[in-house]
Amino acid sequence: MIQPRWFRKLMIWTVALTVSGMWPPILWAGSPQPDNPAPGLTMARQATKAQMPWTTSDHAKLPALKKRFNKGEEITQACLSCHSEAEAQFKQTIHWTWIGHVDENGKQLGKAGDSLNNFCLSTNKMNDKGCTSCHTGWEGKQQGVNCLVCHSRKKMNWKEAFEDYQAFSGSDDPDEVEIANEIQAEIQAAAQSIGRPTRQNCGECHFKGGGGDGVKHGDLDTSLSKPNKALDVHMGVDGQNFTCVRCHTTVQHHIAGRIYSKPAYTDRKSLIENDLTAKITCESCHGSTPHDKGHKANDHTDKVACQSCHIPEFARVLPTKMSWDWSKSGQLKDGKKYKEKGPLGTFDYMTIKGKMVWAKNVKPEYAWFNGSMNTMTVKDTIDPANTVPVSGPVGAADDPHSRIFPFKVHRGVQPYDKVNNNLLAPLLSGKQGYWETLDWNDALTKGMAALQVPFSGQFGFVSSTYHFPTTHMVAPKDKAVTCVECHTEKDGRMASISGVYMPGRDGAGWLDTLGWLAVIGAFLGVVLHGLGRIFTNGRKGA
């Protein structure tokens, strides 16, 4: 069995190369293959397969909806003739009450309560009629629920439609009767065109929060009515074409999502762990380690929210408002109110609102976030010497429920009570509102009276911040944030994040200094030694 030496060598090398060749793929896993999607993507695709219409009713054929409607309330009654519990259910939800909850100190958190922001500040307990156009009732909150705001596929100005209909329907003029009939036909068509809420239904209010398109959130604006995949991988009409309620799943008209300080979810469960869980988190469908086995990104999900990497920038199509300085309002040009547009085609200055800054393609700011927000009310005491966090994330590095999360931070300068040290909420719209009178003292007095909170009459302006969690506008994976955007020494995205050691960003200055001193010292030492050998000619010649 004695083989030639070269044969033994060949065998040894063959075995060695084979073994070492098997080794890299074990560790090198992680480059996703196009025909072999990451496990999280496969899971999500299975969870969302085949979105087929499943309804057993065609609302256009229902006798209850084939009648003349003289006012909105009659449509609601027609809906309730079948959906008997819908109104009772809906009136329990924040979409009706505009109150999230009442906290232990009796403060009502919500638009209709004591909450405020640094945009239009407050609804003054819904006394500011300008704010209530978004409410889901006929005539604001006064009458019944307007089911069609969320469920009709036809966009209508309901107030105008019924006013016109009532004005023309009693007329003797056949032309006006004809117009009335046309309006009635439109009303009926809208009432018969029913379905689950579309992006347009939700967007009519949520894309335009803060008084205009894209003002508030930065990741929600009318560009999401018909987005492409580049803007949102889930909602893109050229892709999954998700509606809002695909993720904001609903139980008895309670729609999943964050409500003021209350988190959108209390535990991160996937559909595999609980098939009835809300689909509100990324983990619901993608799981908690969605990337390929061995991919470094899976190791990040204990500390970093999916959104932090997958939403590199918000406001990628339309601009969003980044700051609003109310203290600059009230300036007149030629004795008149005026407004000026900036480079993005949005108003940078308005006499009635003050100075505003808009931006597009904005990199989020990052903070530890466990899903809860600290939201302030008009009843909270502030420290005017510091920037007031009107709404800020709750979370900490050592909290296992917290993740590093992206935010749009809207910076404001807004009125506060110099004596009582609380934020103030002026009445803005209407004949007596600030937008008409430009009289701060009067508007603040009326606004605070509506809120039943005392106002000393002494007011000033204070800087404030308002955090919006950035969670929509999820970009395609090739646009995800790259490693070095965070793992870098200077000006990285995570520069402000503390409580976690990040390779590439962190280190100890003293250790680096000592280390390089040792290396350079050794180098200089051997150079001197070498020079010594050359000059003394001590090296023995070969």
Partner: protein, 220 residues
């Protein structure tokens, strides 16, 4: 003063293979490690991390083979530290080498390392390199710490310890590279580490205490 030279076979095939494999692994680890840590940009962070992890784990496995070789061949005895002739060696490198003196402890098959080398390589093979592998492995396995029952360790501690080790190895490397030039010609030692054959001065006898162990000639 100069004596005749003889050529002896000093480094076996595996030793040479191991030396150059380990040096390649360490240099790649230093480069990618410093890219991950700060400053360097050769591969971009993402690839640097991947390469560093892969090469680091490879080193860990290869090192296990080295330890196996060390003990099965008895070569570990070459690393037993001693203070004998230590002064002579220190004196040689700080004085004698400039005067063209002969090395007080020339290499021999049975005693490859002079007392200074024994101490250095023992510190390296028994402490610094395992320390670097251990801290590196912990660093790599950070997400599994809860699974491994590690609770009271911070990533920062491990990362800084690993950085410390890297600087120590880099410092060694600088001196080590220089020391290769101190043979009878600039590249004599490097050549020996490639071919296995080292030219040494004739006539020096190896003292009993220096001998690592008896070796049968057939082992070659």
């Amino acid at each position: 003063m100069l004596k005749n030279k003889i050529v002896i076979y000093l480094y076996s095939r595996y030793e040479r293979f191991w030396h150059w494999l380990q040096s390649a692994l360490i240099i790649i680890l230093l480069l990618t490690g410093f890219e991950v840590h700060q400053g360097l940009s050769l591969l971009r962070f993402h690839s640097a991390v991947k390469v560093h992890n892969f090469v680091g784990l490879t080193w860990l496995i290869a090192f296990a083979f080295f330890v196996f070789w060390l003990f099965t061949t008895g070569e570990w005895k070459q690393y037993i530290p001693t203070t004998r002739k230590m002064f002579l060696v220190v004196r040689y490198y700080s004085y004698g080498i400039f005067r063209g003196e002969a090395h007080p402890v020339p290499k021999r098959k049975e005693a490859k390392h002079n007392p200074l080398q024994r101490l250095t390589y023992l510190a390296l093979a028994a402490f610094l390199l395992p320390f670097q592998m251990l801290t590196g492995f912990l660093y790599w396995g950070y997400n599994a710490w809860p699974l491994w029952g590690i609770k009271s360790l911070s990533l920062e501690t491990v990362a800084l310890a690993h950085t410390f080790g890297a600087f120590a190895i880099l410092t060694f490397l600088v001196v080590h590279l220089y020391m290769t030039t101190t043979g009878h010609s600039l590249f004599a030692h490097i050549k020996a580490m490639i071919t296995g054959w080292e030219e040494v001065e004739e006539g020096e006898t190896v003292e009993e205490w220096e001998v690592a162990h008896e070796r049968k000639p057939s082992a070659l």
